[in-house]
């Protein structure tokens, strides 16, 4: 029944049926009620009529006291017919005018001529179905009352009457009921059929295929409903797409997304959570994040405060150090937001976490690199100034030596000054190397060959108790590099390895090769942040020495850090400078007591060819130094010493300028006489680079020899059209000056 009632069509059918039934029932009840109301009146009327007839019939009998005749008469009357359809005479009593009984329907109980009390003429109801009527019996002629007929009448049973009414109404009732059923079924069908269509249509909701066009000729409500379903389908499909997009965003997000219920129990985690933490979704759901990934970084008070903030409806953002399933720590930047339901109550929490472990490592690295860079700039500046000073010292010393006799006692002192100056210059070179600005001559080299060429040097660099092993790649690992600096790197590494092994002896392995570095590989390396993944050639030095702890590894590139008693602490930092200067990277694998492996990686030179080493077939010829030279330098003492050297070399006239502008002015006036320009690079007002351009505008053929405390690359790397020009690294001696002048002159002559 409930199942039937649950269907609208049945409901409508039943309602119509019941409605019709109610109407029929109302009519029926009205009729019944009317009949019930009229029944007593009809009965009384019929009974009165019957009583009057009886009174007339027995009048003579009463008059003459003919009891038997009355009784016989009454029997005949009662047997012949009843008063009416509704009334029957149940009992009678005929009395004379003295109240004596003349006849009774129950003669055994009521004896004749016994006093028989009766009421006044009229009707008295004894109960719902019986009444007593007292009818005077009158003389046929005089109309005097000679007696009374007392009739007890039984009204036909109400149910009988109703049955009679029901019988009368049965046919119309059946017809009406059939009509009601037909109407109900019709209405039900009328409702259910479109509803079935609508149900079929609604099953397609969400597929995007709902078409309400076929409902065009349907009733308005059904049509509207169909179009509503179509509209809902479109909206659901659109919403579905949006939700799908959002779900994809969450699913594919690199960030961890966690959704918990209001108690902090995980209800959803995205794949990033699984990937980063190592916990599967099934493992995570039902637990709290604290049970899975919480470290002991923060105290209980911290989390208590965090939850109080969250429960107040505010978000919480902070960095957390969490623990993966495998026990590793990882760092996340986390934002936890309460999710509110429609009533404004917190129903869930959503946490978005970003794994910042690598980023933080990168930041730390960059911070370190910045520090190293800063020191590099400082070191470079110092080296530049030192070189200028050393140029003066070395120049003056060499000039002084030229002027001194061979046996002069001062010569030894001057030679010591020269040696000390060279040592100082060497130190400056290392400082420049550390700063990554010490790259001088970049050419393509086979790294393996480069190592082979150093074998002798290597052998003398390591202690005798150390066994050297080479694993050099057969396929040439080509790099663009300054040979001297690479050699410095090799020697530096070998020295450190040798010292790490110490007196106990061990093995040093020197290997070369090629490797393809990914971004991840680069993260494990020490290098500038702008290194690109790709093919690298490497040089690797492994020792079986004492190894380094983590603390030491972090500091070995800091300038002036050393573990050696005699070291200056610039070896590794200078090496890092060289590596960075070559756009390379370093990787250290070391453990205390288990040796160290340092791999130096340089970008592989692609499509380059190895320049053949030019043999200096003949010693440098002294150039023909005569004429006028334009000497440009902002340092007065350098102008002075350089002027002396140039004079010494044979130049008659030395024109001097303090800066580029002054030099151009002089050159414009006398460029026809000037055979050479010795040009400092770093100057106030106008630097060497701009000055060079100005000189070339005036005379494109004049030889120019740059000079700088910085290296060539740093000093004039950006200068275009450098034909008929050379570079002289400060400090320099007269000989070195002469050689460079000769080179430039040769080039001009060529």
């Amino acid at each position: 029944m409930m199942r039937l009632w649950s269907r609208l069509s049945y409901q409508i059918g039943i309602i119509i049926f019941l409605g019709f039934l109610c109407i029929i029932g109302f009519i029926f009840l009205q009729s019944y009620s009317e009949s019930r109301k009229l029944l007593p009146q009809d009965a009384e009327r019929d009974a009165r009529l019957e009583a009057s007839l009886i009174a007339e019939a027995v009048a003579n009998g009463v008059r003459y006291g003919l009891s038997y005749q009355i009784w016989e008469q009454m029997n005949a009357i009662l047997q012949r017919d009843r008063a009416s359809e509704t009334v029957s005479i149940e009992a009678y009593a005929i009395v004379d005018n003295r109240g004596a009984l003349l006849a009774h329907s129950d003669p055994e109980r009521y004896s004749l001529m016994m006093p028989y009390p009766h009421g006044d003429p009229g009707v008295v109801w004894l109960d719902a179905a019986r009444f007593e009527i007292t009818q005077p019996v009158r003389h046929p002629v005089t109309r005097q009352v000679v007696g009374y007929a007392v009739l007890t009448c039984q009204v036909g049973e109400l149910t009988e009457r109703l049955e009679m009414i029901q019988q009368k109404m049965l046919l119309p009732l059946i017809v009406a009921l059939l009509l009601a059923i037909a109407l109900a079924i019709g209405a039900s069908y009328r409702v259910s059929r479109p509803l079935r269509y609508l149900a079929a249509l609604s099953k397609q909701v969400g597929s995007g295929t709902v078409d309400a066009g076929s409902f065009r000729d349907k009733p308005e409500e059904i049509r509207h409903l169909a179009y509503s379903i179509q509209w809902a389908d479109e909206r659901i499909v659109n919403r579905g797409r949006e939700i799908e997009k959002l779900a994809m965003v969450v699913q594919q997000s690199e960030e961890i997304v966690i959704v918990t219920d209001e108690n902090g129990v995980i209800r959803y985690v995205n794949p990033s959570f699984e990937r980063i933490t190592g916990y599967s979704s099934e493992e995570a759901i039902g637990k709290t994040p604290g049970m899975l990934v919480r470290s002991e970084t923060y105290s209980a008070d911290y989390y208590q405060h965090m939850w109080s903030i969250l429960k107040s409806g505010r978000p919480w953002r902070d960095t957390f150090r969490n623990i993966r399933k495998n026990g590793e720590e990882f760092l996340v930047s986390q934002s936890i937001s309460p999710i509110f339901d429609q009533n404004g109550q917190i129903s869930a929490y959503a946490a978005v976490q970003r794994d910042i472990t690598q980023m933080r490592q990168m930041e730390d690295k960059l911070l370190h690199m910045d520090r190293v860079e800063s020191l590099g700039v400082l070191a470079g500046g110092i080296a530049h100034d030192f070189n200028n000073l050393l140029t003066a010292i070395l120049g003056n010393a060499s000039l002084a030596l030229m002027h001194l006799e061979e046996r002069s006692s001062a010569r030894e002192h001057l030679e010591q000054i020269e040696l000390a100056s060279y040592s100082a210059a060497d130190l400056c070179r290392q400082m420049l190397a550390y700063s990554g600005k010490g790259k001088f001559v970049v050419k393509t080299h086979d790294l393996s060959q480069l190592v082979r060429d150093m074998s002798k040097l290597v052998d003398v660099s390591v202690a005798r108790n150390i066994s050297m092993q080479y694993r050099l790649a057969d396929t040439p690992p080509l790099i663009d590099a300054d040979v001297a600096q690479i050699q410095q790197v090799v020697l530096n590494l070998l020295t450190n390895a040798s010292e790490a092994i110490g007196e106990e002896g061990g093995t040093i392995t020197l290997a070369t090769g090629r490797a393809r570095l990914s971004q991840v590989d680069l993260l494990e390396c020490i290098c500038d942040a702008d290194r690109e993944p790709g093919d690298y050639a490497y040089l690797e030095v492994s020792d079986t020495g004492c190894g380094m702890d983590e603390q030491t590894q972090k500091k070995i590139f800091d300038p002036f850090f050393t573990t050696k008693f005699t070291g200056r602490g610039l070896g590794m930092s200078a090496m890092l400078g060289i590596v960075n200067g070559h756009y390379g990277a370093l990787r250290i694998i070391s453990e205390k007591g288990k040796g160290t492996t340092i791999r130096v990686l340089f970008p592989e030179a692609v499509g380059a060819r190895i320049e053949q080493k030019q043999e200096s077939a003949s010693p440098a010829r002294r150039p023909s130094c005569a004429g006028t030279v334009l000497l440009v330098d902002d340092e007065e003492h350098l102008r002075h010493i350089a002027s002396a050297m140039l004079n010494r070399l044979g130049f008659e006239e030395i024109l001097m300028a303090e800066d580029g502008r002054q030099a151009i002015d002089i050159f414009r006036k006398r460029h026809g006489e000037i055979k050479l320009v010795l040009l400092d690079v770093t100057m106030p007002v106008m630097g060497g680079e701009a000055c060079f351009a100005g000189l070339r505008e005036i005379d494109a053929t004049v030889p120019v020899l740059f000079s700088s405390g910085y290296n060539e690359q740093e000093a004039i790397g950006r200068v275009a059209a450098r034909e008929r020009s050379g570079f002289l690294q400060k400090p320099y001696t007269t000989e070195q000056l002469a050689e460079k002048i000769a080179e430039v002159m040769r080039e001009v002559a060529a």
Partner: protein, 284 residues
């Protein structure tokens, strides 16, 4: 006049016989007046029809049946139509002799021209005789019935009881069988009926014997006679009497007699009804 048996309804047969046989043969039929001669003879008893028809044929005196509802009416008919015949009761015959009525014949019941008056009541009652029914309802057939009223009145009179005052109601029922019905239905407590009617009633309704009981049997009294009105010619009377007296020898007549429960007819002098006249005299 002869008083008929207690249980038999009063039947009066009035023969009106024309003065001459020719005249009667050529004229209209006279009446044979009846008033409850035989039980159930309310006018629809074929045996009486057959009896009258047989008698008319046998006596050559044209007759037709005329039912009346009382002996008074019967007497009135014979007065107004003196050529008629009647089957009447002893008391009316005795009382109406002054009108010129002549006794034709007397029926034989159980071989005798007499019958009894019976006192009946319902079985199980405590009363033993009529006088025990003081202040009760007593049914009787006709005020001029010998067995219904005169005989019990006389019996009680002899016991010093005035019947009219002794009972609460003397219920006039019109016929003896009505009196039986009145007792059966409780309408009357006791009734005085003709013995002949009682016997005939029980033949027809045997179950009544289980409900009713005869308390007293008074009599014998002269049976209900067939009389002729004052204008019935003597020859006709003789012819009729002759027919009745020989009726039991006639095939049809004998059959009718069996149906009537009678044995035949005898001729009796008027004095045969003297006992009734004496009772009337006594009570007067």
């Amino acid at each position: 006049m002869k008083i008929c048996g207690a249980a038999i309804l009063m039947v009066a047969l009035l023969f009106t016989i024309e003065a001459s046989a020719a005249a009667s043969a050529a004229g209209q039929a006279q009446r044979m007046v009846l008033s409850g001669v035989v039980p159930g003879q309310g006018g629809d008893t074929p045996v009486l029809e057959r009896f009258v028809r047989w008698l008319a044929e046998a006596s050559d005196y044209p007759l037709e049946v005329a039912h009346v509802d009382s002996y008074q009416a019967l007497s009135e008919t014979l007065r107004t139509r003196p050529a008629s015949l009647a089957w009447t009761c002893g008391q009316p015959f005795v009382e109406d002799r002054a009108d010129g009525q002549r006794l034709v014949a007397v029926p034989l019941y159980k071989g005798k021209p007499t019958y009894h008056s019976l006192v009946i009541t319902r079985r199980g009652r405590s009363e033993k005789s009529l006088k025990d029914f003081k202040n009760k309802v007593v049914a009787y057939s006709d005020p001029r019935s010998n067995s219904g009223l005169l005989a019990p009145k006389y019996v009680l009179h002899r016991q010093g009881i005035a019947m009219e005052l002794y009972f609460r109601l003397l219920l006039h029922t019109g016929r003896h069988e009505n009196s039986i019905v009145a007792v059966l239905n409780g309408l009357a407590d006791v009734a005085n009926v003709d013995e002949y009617v009682w016997d005939e009633y029980l033949k027809r309704y045997p179950s009544a014997a289980e409900k009713l009981v005869v308390l007293e049997r008074n009599g014998p009294y002269p049976f209900t006679p067939i009389v002729a009105g004052s204008m019935v010619p003597e020859p006709a009377i003789r012819a009729i009497r002759q027919a009745l007296l020989t009726m039991h020898r006639d095939v049809r007549g004998a059959g009718i007699l069996r149906q009537l429960g009678l044995d035949g007819f005898v001729e009796k002098p008027d004095t045969f009804y003297r006992p009734i006249a004496e009772m009337l005299e006594t009570l007067r």
